[in-house]
Amino acid sequence: MTTHEPREPEQSDLFVALSAIDEETTRRLHDRLVREAQTAGLLNVAYRTIDSPVGPLLLAATAKGLVRVAYGCEDHEKVLDRLARDLSPRILHAPARLDAAAKEIDEYFAGLRQGFDLPVDFSLARGFRRLVLTRLRAIAYGQTASYAAIAVAVGSPKAVRAVGTACATNPIPVVVPCHRVVRSDGSIGQYVGGVDAKKTLLTLEGRPAD
């Protein structure tokens, strides 16, 4: 905007000793902003993180539903930057909007839940990828399907590689079960959260994979 003149040294001594804004005040103002943003329809993306057996997960939701689940290896800060670019920069840390998602995911990892009743928002996946993700939701808990079988199921039997890409770029892993897609020879294949996370999920679901 403008070039900055150097600050005169004598000027700020009156204000130097101001104490830091305390946490309680910061939290109160932030809570109020989230509340008022929500009421005004300005909270386009809400997010929070939760702990899980596969590490910290970032959850993000639009008004339509859960739009992103991200593993720690995806770098949550970068994920939020991309959400700002791809969806909206009106993003706030607003755990309450994700209470239901957090609860269902907790229950899933505790072995108490086999399916998710959450509204999801596929805004981050388009065309063929979205088609594949929609099809993945039909693979039941504890079942697996091959990349080739999914390609057949979506009517593009030759698009095995594209199915792999759709799974690798699944914006809502765990809830949209791309971990249930394995290679035709039975080996586990790749995973957005790393092969170890995929093994953990399949083992949890009673399908120990090598």
Partner: protein
């Protein structure tokens, strides 16, 4: 200072970027300084309302902000408009409004800072905003003048007069 002001390296300078960061980052980075500015201009009682209105308005307009803009100066500009609105509203209301019942008791630090804010409150509006934007927000006088009107020299004089008055009423040096 313990927190970044908009004059500190990194917080005020424009970064070359092509996308806007998540608004949460804006709140974390600039929230404390904007609150101090609101306290300086309006006093601690009305500062929370002004802060909230400022950030809600900023959130509304945020997607249209050009990436790489001076976010600190942008926020102070919004806060300034809110402060003018509140000052006018305050002039219209006959009795001071009772503090909000849910407002927690001020901490010891807040009470100590409160003496300074009370002294700043006693300044005429022009001096008060010049002091707040230059000394608390760390904005250069050119930006302060653009915001409050008048020349850069007038802004500098208003801030200097404000500081001189503060030294008389509040004393030399800092509160500690």
């Amino acid at each position: 200072m313990s927190d970044l002001t908009f004059g500190a390296a990194g917080a005020f300078t424009s970064e070359m970027s092509t996308t806007l960061p998540p608004f949460e980052e804006i709140v974390t980075t600039h929230g404390p300084t904007v609150l101090r500015v609101c306290r300086a201009v309006l006093g601690p009682m009305d500062a929370d309302d002004a802060w909230s209105e400022t950030f809600l308005a900023a959130l509304r307009a945020y997607p249209t902000l050009r990436p790489g803009s001076n976010v600190g100066a942008w926020l102070v500009t919004i806060a300034h408009r809110k402060a003018i609105d509140q000052t006018r509203a305050r002039a219209r209301r006959p009795l001071p409004i009772d503090p909000l019942p849910e407002r927690p008791a001020p901490s010891e630090e807040d009470r100590r800072d409160g003496h300074l804010w009370a002294a700043v409150q006693a300044l005429p509006f022009k001096q008060r905003v010049a002091v707040a934007y230059h000394y608390v927000a760390g904005m250069p006088y050119a930006d302060v003048a653009a915001l409050i009107g008048g020349s850069q020299d007038a802004a500098r004089r208003a801030a200097a007069d404000g500081i001189a008055a503060l030294r008389k009423t509040y004393g030399e040096g800092g509160p500690r």
